[in-house]
Amino acid sequence: MRLTLRPVELIGPDREGRLVFLEERLVAVLSKLGELHEDATGHWFLEASFTPTSRSGAGPFATLEDALAAIGTGLNASPGIR
């Protein structure tokens, strides 16, 4: 499954974000955590997800790859959604 990313700026203290797409459809929104989050600075946080089986607010994930893997797992667990 190919998930693609589009950079986006978020409102709030954690500014850098990514929209996650499956083909042309939005699947999730990730944010990169800023210094407010101390040990989790630089980690990726799942802000919103359109798959019913993944929990919004999952993570933080140390890498973008880890975050995408979790999103992929959520999609695979929701076969009806596509």
């Binding site: 709030g12 955590l33 989050h37 989790a40 946080f45 607010g57």
Partner: protein, 238 residues
């Protein structure tokens, strides 16, 4: 049995001198605990009832994947495992700070309930107030914004600590981590962190070395839509 339980009961019922004497002569063993220690295990039939004498604790439930839901916070005078009187507790109790419990053998507690109706009524009322607190938490987790949930909880904790003499000049010891708050309110730690920053930026509260400092009590209450009635505290507290 130290005065904490007597003081707690007297918030809800009038106790006679005989009642107080019966409570004071309950057999009990004092046990210290450290912050983070488990005080009462989940799903184990208890032989004793644990009364919090000093320190703070919380009830929690563990999920299969290792996450937890914190169910309530407790202050001195609370019976940590009120369920144990009649049922196996469906939660565990852990220490937020170091402190002490008084362990009272269940047969002695039950005999007290049989022979002292005012004490039985007081414990029943305490149980009803616990339920009211759970309902307030339910409403918060179901329908309030993250900011309102946190503000509401901080108001509740502050007033309950004030009622037992542990809050002065707008400040109380409440050494919770963001993880504790997140696990209490159905929020992620990330979201909790952002909301705490927002509460600080609005000049409502600050945390310093485990102390909760309420800078704007009316503002905090408004942010949490907090009405203390459900706590049924003595009228001079709220």
């Amino acid at each position: 049995m130290p005065g904490r339980l007597i003081d707690n009961l007297q918030n809800y019922v009038t106790l006679s001198a005989d009642d107080r004497s019966a409570l004071a002569s309950l057999p009990s063993t004092r046990r210290s605990f450290t912050a983070g220690a488990e005080i009462v295990p989940e799903n184990e039939a208890q032989t004793h009832c644990a009364v919090l004498i000093e320190g703070q604790a919380f009830r929690q439930k563990a999920l299969a994947d290792g996450r937890r839901q914190i169910l309530s916070f407790h202050v001195p005078g609370d019976i940590l495992d009120l369920n144990a009187l009649f049922l196996t507790p469906d939660y565990s109790v852990s220490a937020l700070t170091h402190g002490e419990v008084g362990l009272v053998p269940l047969p002695a507690m039950r005999e007290l309930l049989e022979t002292r109706p005012a004490i039985a009524r007081g414990l029943w009322r305490i149980s009803l107030v616990e339920s009211a607190i759970y309902r307030a938490w339910l409403v918060g987790m179901g329908r309030r914004t993250a900011l309102a949930r946190i503000a509401h909880l901080l108001c509740e904790v502050f007033l309950r600590l004030k009622a037992v003499g542990l809050a002065q000049n707008g400040s109380c010891r409440f050494p919770v981590t963001q993880a504790h708050l997140a696990d209490s309110l159905g929020l992620s730690a990330v979201h909790t962190n952002r909301v705490l920053q927002q509460l600080r930026a609005q000049g409502l509260i600050t945390f310093q070395s485990g102390q909760l400092i309420v800078l704007d009590w009316n503002g905090l209450k408004a942010a949490g839509e907090f009405d203390p009635c459900y706590l049924h505290l003595p009228s001079d507290t709220a």
